[in-house]
């Protein structure tokens, strides 16, 4: 089909459209809107909630999310009939809903609450949900809380799990009024092969799937006078946190974030970008070693805890491909644990390390037994970007009025290579910048490897020339794409030497812990551009030029992949193949 411009009429106004998949997109493009719970532009249309109904002349009532646009259609968004249908839908949903809104985690962000308010629902004609119909809340997962009493069965989470991650941990069960969304046979989410990516919570319109909060735990530590609380924040958080305070997506708020964290009471503020640089030192060296020996290729990146868990549980035979490098967060924490107590003259027990992450799976990662020392977790708590935003509000800080502040040294210094870790393709680009110079001994003039960038294409192959040695780097986002690449390797079709995987579509900038953006598929690209902008503005853009990193190697680690580096910065993976036919 060509991109021929056609027109239709919305409320009497002639509106142009080309290849929009449905009426709802045409309506939104024209600057108008209809309410919806189940429509998410990055997922397939489902037509479940019936909120987006419009009146089409000659065709009656249609759900705009499932009807393809046609030239000449005359549609009406706001008629007596559509209003009545939407109100009835809301009343029916509310009648069956746990209406404890004031204490709900989603309060203020809930689409059901929002529409009930907008449509002036004051009285519900139907009886309330009976007490005996309440189902238990599942908080077994380290990342996600599932409250079936707040589920409206829009199916967004089921589609996210299937279409992004490809393995449908959540599914519909039962039928009619007994329908629920749950893992296999109602098992606790913490005991199935959920990778904790949080995309289900990111698309959930209500409080049925929410992020497990660690805010209270962190406040407690901050208030404790004996404890020193240090914090690190992931690259992707800085270009999204502002959205919670009305700033545009993609605006780099790192300075304000530093200031806000100090006001909240964190004692030292470091940056995960520093350890992203550290990751590159180790991972680029590991990659070159593998290229030399020809073993365990392709190399899989290991920054994404959802991907690591997926591989351990579904393809333990491929674990030898996974880089032994810890994720940047889990590299920085043991470094802090080693050096900060001395610096502050406190014991390790009194040092609390907090990570601010765009990611719900990091809450799982910090509990991995492999990432503990002497029984103490390397990273004590992980807060998502959303949770930090909430803490800033709770502390009464006027985020927009904050003067930008620098972070603390030495573990706050970073290069542009560290900052682009937050976008799909960023880890590979950072690794190539360093690997090229390590391998060739020459300076890489053009550091912008634009072919590796982009959030919409979830699988890209890029051929690189390491001074005569040609190799292919593959970048994928979503585990569904990762699975296809694994099948390529198993069937011998794979030509790539490195596979970068991020489980969230578009990478960490679109992580499950980021401020809500599921109604706008462009937000992730804008956030990614924010990171590439910071990269382009920094004077140092290759990890191995980071002066603090060089100092760390000179004074302690000696060289990449040294014994000390392995002790501190590398990890092991375990065969966790479960929930599958091998067990039976």
């Amino acid at each position: 089909m060509t991109n021929e411009i056609k027109t239709l009429f919305i409320d009497g106004k002639e509106v142009e459209f080309t290849d929009e998949p449905n009426l709802l997109e045409v309506i939104r493009k024209a600057g108008m809107n209809v309410p919806t719970f189940c429509y998410r532009p990055d997922l397939t249309s489902f037509g479940a909630c019936r909120m987006c109904v419009v009146e089409v002349e000659g065709r009656g009532i249609q759900s705009s999310c499932t009807m393809p646009p046609e030239a000449g259609l005359k549609i009406h968004l706001n008629t007596e009939k559509t209003r009545r249908i939407r109100k009835t839908v809301l009343e029916l949903l509310l009648a069956n809903h746990d209406k404890s809104c004031l204490t709900c985690d989603k309060s203020g962000n809930c689409e059901l609450q929002q529409y009930a308010e907008e449509y002036g629902i004051r009285k519900i004609r139907y009886p309330d949900k009976a007490l005996e119909d309440y189902l238990p809340v599942d908080d077994s997962s380290p990342s996600i809380v599932r409250d079936p009493n707040k589920c409206i069965l829009c199916g967004a989470c089921v589609r996210a799990c299937t279409e992004f991650q490809g393995h449908s941990v959540l599914g519909f069960a039962n039928r009619g009024s007994k329908t629920v969304v749950q893992p296999m046979n109602g098992r606790p989410l913490g005991q199935v092969d959920c990778v904790n990516c949080g995309q289900c919570a990111a698309v959930c319109p209500t409080g049925a799937l929410t992020i497990k909060s660690d805010i209270e735990n962190v406040w407690k530590e901050i208030t404790n006078k004996d404890k020193k609380v240090v914090v690190q924040m992931a690259p992707a958080t800085r270009v999204a946190i502002g959205e919670m305070f009305g700033l545009p997506a993609g605006e780099n708020s790192i300075g304000k974030m530093n200031a806000a964290l100090r006001r909240i009471g964190f004692d030292l503020i470091f940056d995960t970008n520093f350890s992203a640089d550290l990751t590159i030192m180790e991972e680029a060296s590991e990659f070159l070693d593998r290229l030399k020996s020809g073993q365990n290729l392709p190399l899989f990146t290991s920054c994404c805890p959802a991907w690591v868990k997926y591989l351990e549980e579904h393809h333990p035979d491929m674990l030898n491909h996974l880089s032994s490098c810890k994720s940047p967060m889990s590299m920085l924490s043991p470094v802090l644990a080693k050096f900060v107590p001395e610096q502050l003259n406190i014991s390790r027990e009194n040092l609390v390390i907090v990570g601010i992450m765009p990611c719900t799976a990091k809450k799982y990662e910090c509990k991995r037994p492999e990432l503990t020392k002497d029984g103490k977790a390397d990273t004590d708590y992980v807060l998502t970007t959303q949770e930090l935003g909430r803490m800033i509000k709770e502390a009464g800080i006027d985020f927009n009025a904050l003067e930008p502040e620098p972070n603390d040294n030495p573990f706050g210094e970073y290069t542009g290579a560290g900052t682009i870790f937050g976008a799909s393709g960023g880890v590979a680009e950072a690794a190539v910048r360093t690997a090229y110079e390590f391998a060739t001994g020459e300076s890489l003039e053009n550091v912008d490897i634009k072919e590796l960038r982009g959030t919409s294409n979830r699988c890209r192959d890029i051929e690189l020339d390491l001074k005569g040695t040609k190799l292919v780097v593959r970048v994928v986002s979503t585990l569904k794409e990762a699975e296809k690449s694994i099948q390529d390797i198993k069937s011998g079709k794979a030509q790539f030497a490195m596979l970068e995987v991020m489980a969230c579509p578009g990478g960490c900038i679109n992580g499950g812990g980021q401020p809500r953006s599921c109604d706008n598929s462009k937000t992730k690209e804008i956030r990614a551009q924010g990171l590439y902008k910071e990269d382009s503005e920094l004077s140092l853009r290759k990890s191995h030029y980071n002066p603090s990193i060089r100092k760390l190697y000179n004074e302690y680690l000696q060289e990449p992949n040294s014994h000390k580096a392995h002790e501190l910065l590398h990890t092991i993976y375990k065969d966790k193949f479960t929930g599958s036919y091998k067990d039976i």
Binding site: Q182, D583, I584
Partner: protein, 164 residues
Amino acid sequence: MSVENPHKIDVSKLDEIIESYGAKKSNLIAILQKVQEVYRYLPEDAMIYIGTKIEGLSPATVFGVATFYAQFSLEPKGKYEIKVCDGTACHVRGSMPVLNAIRAKLSMPEGQLTSENGLFSLETVSCLGACGLAPVVVINDKVYPQMTSDAITIVLDTLMKEEA
């Protein structure tokens, strides 16, 4: 997700069933029907196995299909599957007294699917399409027309004697 195997699921048998229909998502219902025929219900482990073996499915998805259709049972059914028709015609001709007589005879309170000795399972169905024979009871594939409390008791007595 650790999986115990109290049912001694025979994986090779499942493989055989899956292969016979083709390991495709669209064949799921046929595969589940066959599995139920073999085990007289759908064991959880079998659903997990099918959900992980066939591309595009997952245990949760298979469970969703199994719980959507009334024809699938997640509990073991008896050797004799008793279906009491409670469609409109059977209902007005007295299917309820027949049902109660079966419950009394087998000591099965309402809500219990299978008798204690595992021989009989009992369910009502909405219409068997044999309204002229109302009230109808079907045991396995045999149709018992125009049932009464006394008649069904004799039928059950005969079956129990055979099993004794």
